[in-house]
């Protein structure tokens, strides 16, 4: 090679190697033949077009200089390119979810459930998957503020030290702490120290969405602070009163997994559990129910009492309950439920939703006890180390503040100005104190009213611990040092209670010193590795309920002609996830709305006030008014309006600001979840909302296939027989796909609840961009996994079914033959590969895909992405630029990584070693994925089940993805037809 020694890149700038020269080289040219897809930015467009013309010339081909920057001192376990997995925990209200977080070179990129943790069991819910984006939220506050002026953190420390001494002398006389609820050994230890230091201070917790009614009910009946642990897998009959336990109630993962376990049937003679749901809105639990009764939430309490009356007649002593039952409901339903409950002694479970008042919960627990469910389908644990939210304490704080008894108010987390009940009008109360301190992730509504604002660390940046519902303590360990120099909860609590700035690590070690038995250091290392203390769940107790202390049931006059409003938590929970783009853009499973909340009502109610989708109405709830758009969902109870909480926030972040309508303005302390006294006034204004699905009916096409258990037992092959088509033979010789790995997927529609966690996990794993409300309105959302929701049956009381649809990786893929540049082809493992750098964007493949699962980058969505958000991206997956088609690749990056490790160890990939991101996150194991060539694999067995069918198989495209039809376990009494 004669040109080996010749120096090509000789130029004066290069010789001096001056920084300007390096900088000028870096942004002037791009590599002319690599067509790096995300290289184009608007500013350098003309230069690059000009440059590539110049580069086409022969002389002076100069390659841009690129750097490789190693460490100075090598961190032990960090191997560039190989991800590490750490166990940590996400504290959430009164419980916590164990996580395994994937980290690339010290940068966490993907959150997954910890299989060993009792509340996660390996799966995840929406907030776990989306939490990674909150870590890299560009709008998180990173500075300490005092009355709007920027201060150093030490200045706050000095200020607090003087305040601390003053307060200690007065024994915390005029001091109050308003925190979020927690169940954490360390935090409760620090709280006890705080109470010792400041006996007269008040420490209260408030959260807008909590299980307060349930816990008060139990405390009232048992006299002790206990919390229930539900075992849905042991329950054959489940009755849910307005409880969406698979999605929005707390501990939805264990509930979903348990409920799903009862519905996994592989042959006609398997047993199946039965779910009755009585609710006002249309929840995902209602969608998976075998029988669903629409009833206004205000009347559900009375329904429970009439059920108690029927049970009483069947010999269970529920006399006081039944005495208060004033209204008789749908006789048939009551008899059917009572019959089932009686037939399944000890294997039934009744659960009431968090929005039901306290007395309804008490009635439900009394019935459960009478049916003998205690100790079997429900067990209880002491609520040690925990502080739960309490509305009464908040009202007490309001009175103290009004009387000026509080001079120093420390608000830890939460956002009371935004989400406290409106009648307390918290923002005026705060002004009545001398100094207020607020620890919060964003400089939000509350921080702008407080004197001091302290940036708060994300749980992935802080030390801490938390107990799961069944009491198992687990460690919160940081994956990354605080990006926005935030203070972790443990550090802040120890600061306000002990006055000195201790590191969270020591505080946690101090607590765990008592928890870990045996040698502390090895125990500590093991806990850090596992993420939790093994088999350390607290003792489950079965208390006896004292029904004499039951509160007086409200004998509401049941009139279904009066409007009611039900506040529900949507994807943004109570508003803390408002600045999270993924959750804002994930379509609501029932309304399919994105970036918005609306007053949801059913068809008849809308017609009564002649409202259409998108009309703005003025809702007046006990005098307070709010203008909000209307959205119609068939299947809601008559005159019942559902309002989503968490929207309408101001000056929090670029994603959250003025998105949706602040329904907290209607929420007073009297009716936190339900309100009976509601008026609607139709205004003539319109509001444009974006949804991802316009058409709700299946038009009689065999897309989602379901039948009753009896029919399934009579004709197991019913699913495939729904479509008769000629024998599917190809005129070409088929390729031999019987050798090597052949990847396939099965989605069990019988267990799938349609929650959309698979979509979110896929978005986190595959760097899928968000496109914003306007582009979703134009039909350009980018999610690779879509949950199609259809209504079936008559308009007023339809059944709702959800079908996750992603790329089916067809063997005769219609998208491959039409691509002019062969950007998409079939590899020998049956995966339809999408080569992003080859795609020129004719979009013919998307037109020819019968499932329309290919998504096109109409604009360059990653161009203006702030640097910090780019840190959330998975380095193993190409980031697509403008003009490129993208779709599900069966997580090809995971397949290649697992195949490579298997080849290095000279073995084949064993079943279960490889999990697609959606399969891994699914809380109900509805998605099975693996090698269909290996008959022992779970997916191969699933494909042999008789109710397995392929969507649009009659097009002879042989999809590799197939579905298991849904079976509804109908009660003969209710199912006359």
């Amino acid at each position: 090679m004669e040109n080996k020694d010749k120096k090509y890149w000789r130029s004066p700038g290069q010789l001096k190697d001056s920084p300007e020269y390096r900088q000028q080289l870096l942004d002037e040219y791009m590599t002319e033949h690599s067509e790096d897809p995300n290289q184009f930015s608007r500013r350098s467009f003309l230069r690059i077009m000009g440059a590539s013309m110049a580069l086409a010339g022969l002389a002076g081909c100069r390659r841009p200089v690129e750097k490789i920057i190693p460490y100075v001192k090598q961190a032990e376990e960090v191997i560039p390119g190989v991800p590490q997995y750490y166990a940590t925990t996400m504290p959430f209200g009164n419980s916590a979810y164990g996580l395994i977080v994937e980290s690339h070179e010290g940068r966490p990129t993907k959150i997954e459930g910890n299989p060993a943790h009792p509340s996660s069991l390996g799966a995840s819910n929406l907030f776990m998957q989306a939490a990674i984006l909150n870590l890299y939220d560009p709008d998180r506050s990173s500075k300490v503020f005092h009355k709007g002026k920027e201060k150093k953190f030490d200045e706050f420390i000095t200020f607090y030290k003087e305040l601390f001494d003053k307060l200690r002398n007065e024994k915390g006389e005029k001091l109050a702490v308003l925190s979020e609820s927690f169940t954490s050994p360390t935090l409760s230890r620090i709280k006890k120290d705080f109470e010792k230091a400041f006996p007269n201070a008040k420490w209260i917790a408030y959260e807008p969405i909590s299980d307060e009614n349930r816990l008060l009910a139990l405390e009232n009946l048992t006299g002790k602070k206990v919390q229930p642990v539900y075992h849905y897998d042991k329950a054959d009959i489940i009755v849910s009163f307005d409880a969406d336990f698979v999605q929005s109630e707390s501990d939805s993962i264990t509930a979903a997994k348990g409920f799903g376990a009862g519905r996994k049937i592989t042959s006609p003679d398997d047993k199946m559990n039965r779910l009755y749901v009585i609710e006002s809105g249309y929840s995902l639990t209602g969608a998976s129910a075998d029988h669903r009764l629409r009833l206004q939430s205000n009347n559900i309490g009375q329904f429970v009492l009439s059920l108690a009356k029927v049970l009483n007649q069947r010999g269970y002593n529920l006399t006081e309950l039944s005495s208060n039952a004033t209204i008789d409901f749908n006789k048939e339903w009551l008899e059917a439920i009572a019959g089932d409950l009686q037939g399944n002694q000890g294997r039934s479970l009744i659960v009431a939703g968090r929005n039901q008042p306290q007395w309804v919960h008490e009635a439900v627990y009394l019935i459960n006890e009478a049916l003998g469910s205690f100790g079997k389908t429900i067990t209880f644990t002491e609520m040690d180390d925990s502080l739960s939210s309490s509305l009464d304490d908040l009202k007490a704080l309001k009175d103290n503040l009004e009387q000026g008894q509080i001079e120093t108010l420390i608000i830890v987390g939460g956002n009371p100005v935004y989400n406290a009940p409106i009648d307390l009008d918290f923002d005026k109360l705060i002004t009545k104190t001398k100094s207020t301190i607020h620890l919060s992730e964003h400089f939000d509504e509350t921080s702008s009213k407080c004197d001091w604002h302290i940036p708060r660390a994300h749980f992935l940046e802080s030390w801490g611990d938390a107990r799961a519902v069944d009491g198992t303590p687990s460690i919160v360990q940081p994956l990354i040092s605080p990006l926005q120099n935030g203070i972790s909860d443990v550090e802040f609590y120890s600061l306000i209670s002990a006055g000195e700035n201790k590191r969270g690590y020591e505080a946690v070690r101090a607590t765990w010193g008592k928890l870990i038995k045996g040698d502390f250091e090895t125990g500590w290392k093991k806990v850090l590795h596992d993420g939790l203390l093994e088999n350390s769940s607290s003792k489950s107790i079965t208390p006896t309920l004292n029904n004499s202390r039951m509160t007086e049931p409200v004998a509401a006059q049941v009139r279904s002609d009066r409007l009611e409003v039900v506040f529900r938590s949507a994807h943004l929970y109570d508003g803390r996830f408002a600045n999270n783009g993924w959750l804002q853009e994930l379509p609501d499973p029932v309304t399919k709305l994105v970036w918005d909340n609306a007053a949801v009502m059913n068809v008849k109610t809308a017609d009564a006030y002649n409202l259409q989708n998108g009309d703005i109405v003025e809702l007046a709830v006990s005098g307070r008014k709010l203008e909000t758009p209307v959205w119609i969902v068939p299947g809601y109870a008559e005159n019942s309006i559902g309002l989503g909480l968490g929207y309408g926030r101001k000056k929090t972040g670029r994603i959250a600001d003025n998105i949706g309508f602040n329904t907290y303005l209607l929420r007073s302390s009297g009716n936190m979840y339900l309100s009976g006294d509601v008026e609607i006034i139709k205004t003539d204004k319109k509001y444009k909302m974006s949804n991802t699905q316009d058409h709700n009916r299946m038009e009689g096409r065999p897309i989602f296939r379901e039948t009753s258990l009896a029919e399934y037992r009579r004709n197991p092959e019913f699913a495939r027989e729904m479509v008769e088509h000629p024998p599917l033979k190809s005129i070409y010789p088929d390729y031999d796909y019987s050798k090597g790995y052949q990847w396939g997927m099965v989605i069990d529609l019988n267990t799938c609840i349609g929650c959309g966690i698979c979509t979110l996990a896929c978005q986190s794993e595959n760097n899928i961009p968000i496109v914003g409300k306007e582009q979703v309105g134009n039909g350009r959302e980018m999610h690779w996994m879509r949950n199609d929701r259809y209504f079936a049956g008559d308009d007023n009381d339809p059944s709702l079914v959800v079908m996750p649809v992603t790329c089916q990786h067809c063997v005769n893929a219609p998208c491959e033959q039409v691509c002019p540049v062969a950007a998409t082809s079939h590899d020998e493992e049956g995966i339809n590969t999408m080569t992003y750098n080859r795609c020129i964007g004719t979009r013919y493949c998307s037109n020819n895909c019968p499932y329309k699962v290919r998504k096109f980058n109409f604009f360059n969505y990653t161009k203006d992405m702030p640097e910090i958000v780019k840190m959330a991206q998975n380095p193993d997956v190409t980031v697509r630029s403008r003009g490129v088609m993208e779709k599900c690749t069966f997580c090809i990056q995971r397949i290649n990584r697992v195949k490579r490790t298997a080849k290095k160890e000279n073995r084949t990939v064993y079943d279960g070693e490889l999990q697609a991101a959606c399969q891994q996150a699914c809380p109900i194991d509805a998605i099975k994925f693996g090698n269909i060539n290996d008959p022992e694999s779970v997916v191969a067995k699933a494909k042999k089940i008789d109710r397995n069918y392929e969507l649009l198989a009659e097009l002879n495209i042989q999809p590799r993805n197939s579905y298991l039809a849904k079976i509804r376990n109908l009660n003969a009494q209710l199912n006359k037809d």
């Binding site: 062969a822 013919y844 109409f858």
Partner: protein, 464 residues
């Protein structure tokens, strides 16, 4: 020289093709006169308007390249919109030119001589307008060269099974062969222009272009054979090109696209809309340059007859598609056609039906066939109808296909409209330049058709 009255129904053989007692020199004078006269003011007006439209095209394409295909109204189910509709529409219009010059030449239809150059020029300009759209509608225009089978260091080739690639080759070949055919026809006329040129520059330019044509019979011999061969290969080419364009839809599996009737149906549609455009342009040219004697009413009547025929074929295709959908028992097909007629795009469907099927029925009546205003309005309506036919095919099938969850409504944005209107700018600019610079009607062929041109004419007796 008997001067037949205009509208007496006389058997078509002895109605003279060229009326007004033309001689060779009068034809030359007439046609070349248009070019040699001072440029009329109306021409400047027209070129001004079309140039401004061209600027609109440049602007909207520039913004498209800068911002991305998102500026159009496309969305997930409807991946193709106005760009592809305009492409198929312009290519369809282009096919009339080749049809007149090739197929009618093979069918010995003498009347084609006065409109064939004019139509071929229209073909070239329509196809050049058409070729813009597949270029700009792709997502990444700067690497669209991946479509061409150029050896590259990535050692990867285009996928020859894709109809889009067939399009590239077919429409590219069509443009090339039409250009060759047009130039071959032009050579003798360029000779005329060379011989009549006064200024030195014109002499040189036309001299070069006429490549030394001497009109010798030794040259006519090969010239006629070349013309015959070009006409011979253009006929299957024009039929294949629009069939290939129709395979963009026929090869897919979408209900409403995946039908074997598409190739003939598209070709009929193309001829239909092509003749409509020829009609529109020739009426205008005839009026401005008063070529009534060369493009006589008989010519226009014949064009109307062809439009009636192809209009009926297109109408047949619409109805047979409905029948086959019903007959096939395929629920997706059946829904597509009910949705087209009564769904959310019903307005487009009924515009299409009324323009394409109802309007041509006027031409059953001789009086209407020969009335200029009726023809003119009909031809414009037909082209509108044909544009909506492509709109209905592309957008309705895409917006509602297999899974109802994906159904979505496509509506164009300002940029869709500007790009389409801009493409007219390009077409008329090129056409006006052609009219101004080159002879609009092929003199040699018109002379060849005069009775005097027949060697046995003047002496009356004929032998062999």
């Amino acid at each position: 020289m008997n001067k037949p009255a205009e509208n007496i129904a006389v058997s078509s053989e002895d109605v003279p093709l060229i009326t007004g007692g033309q001689t060779f020199s009068s034809i030359t004078e007439k046609i070349v006169g248009i070019i040699e006269q001072k440029t009329p003011k109306t021409w400047y007006l027209a070129i001004g308007a079309s140039l401004s439209l061209l600027m609109v095209l440049m602007g909207s394409v520039g913004f498209l390249v800068w911002e991305g295909t998102g500026i159009w109204g496309l969305n997930n189910p409807v991946g193709w919109g106005w760009a592809i509709i305009n492409f198929v529409w312009w290519v369809g219009i282009g096919h009339a030119g080749t049809l007149i010059s090739a197929i009618l030449f093979l069918l010995r239809q003498k009347w084609r001589t006065s409109i064939n150059r004019f139509a071929e020029a229209m073909t070239l300009f329509a196809v050049s307008c058409a070729l813009i759209f597949p270029g700009i509608h792709v997502g990444r225009i700067w690497i669209a060269y991946y479509m061409f089978p150029i050896p590259n260091q990535m050692d990867i080739w285009p996928n020859f099974r894709s109809p889009l690639l067939w399009d590239v080759f077919a429409v590219g070949t069509y443009f090339a062969v039409s250009f060759l055919f047009w130039y071959t026809g032009l050579i003798p006329d360029l000779g005329t222009l060379r011989d009549r040129a006064q200024t030195r520059i014109k002499k040189i330019i036309f001299g070069i272009l006429a490549i030394g044509w001497r009109g010798g019979n030794r040259q006519w011999r090969h010239y006629e054979r070349a013309y015959l061969i070009l006409a011979g290969i253009s006929t299957p080419l024009v039929l294949s090109v629009h069939s290939v364009v129709s395979t963009d839809f026929a090869v897919s599996i979408l209900p409403g696209w995946h039908t074997t009737i598409f190739p003939p149906y598209f070709v009929a549609g193309a001829i239909f809309s092509g003749f409509a455009m020829v009609m529109t342009l020739s009426i205008i040219a005839r009026k401005i340059f008063n070529l009534d004697h060369l493009i006589t009413l008989n010519h226009l009547e014949k064009i109307n007859k062809i439009m009636l025929l192809t209009g009926m074929m297109v109408g047949y295709a619409y109805s047979i598609e409905f029948f086959i959908a019903w007959y096939s028992g395929n629920i997706y097909e059946q829904f597509v056609f009910i949705n087209r007629a009564f769904g959310n795009y019903a307005w487009a469907y009924w515009i299409m039906i009324s323009c394409n099927v109802v309007v041509p029925q006027l031409f059953w009546f001789k009086k209407l066939r020969r009335s200029i205003p009726i023809m003119f309005i009909a031809s414009i309506l037909i082209n509108i109808g044909m544009w909506f036919e492509r709109f209905v095919i592309v957008v309705t099938s895409l917006s509602r296909d297999f899974l109802p969850a994906n159904w979505d409504y496509f509506s164009p944005t300002m940029w869709d409209i500007l790009t389409f209107v801009g493409s007219f700018g390009l077409f008329f600019t090129l056409f006006l330049l052609f009219i101004r610079v080159l002879p609009m009607i092929s003199m040699t062929e018109v002379k060849g058709v005069l009775p005097e041109a027949d060697p046995h004419h003047s002496t009356g007796e004929s032998h062999e």
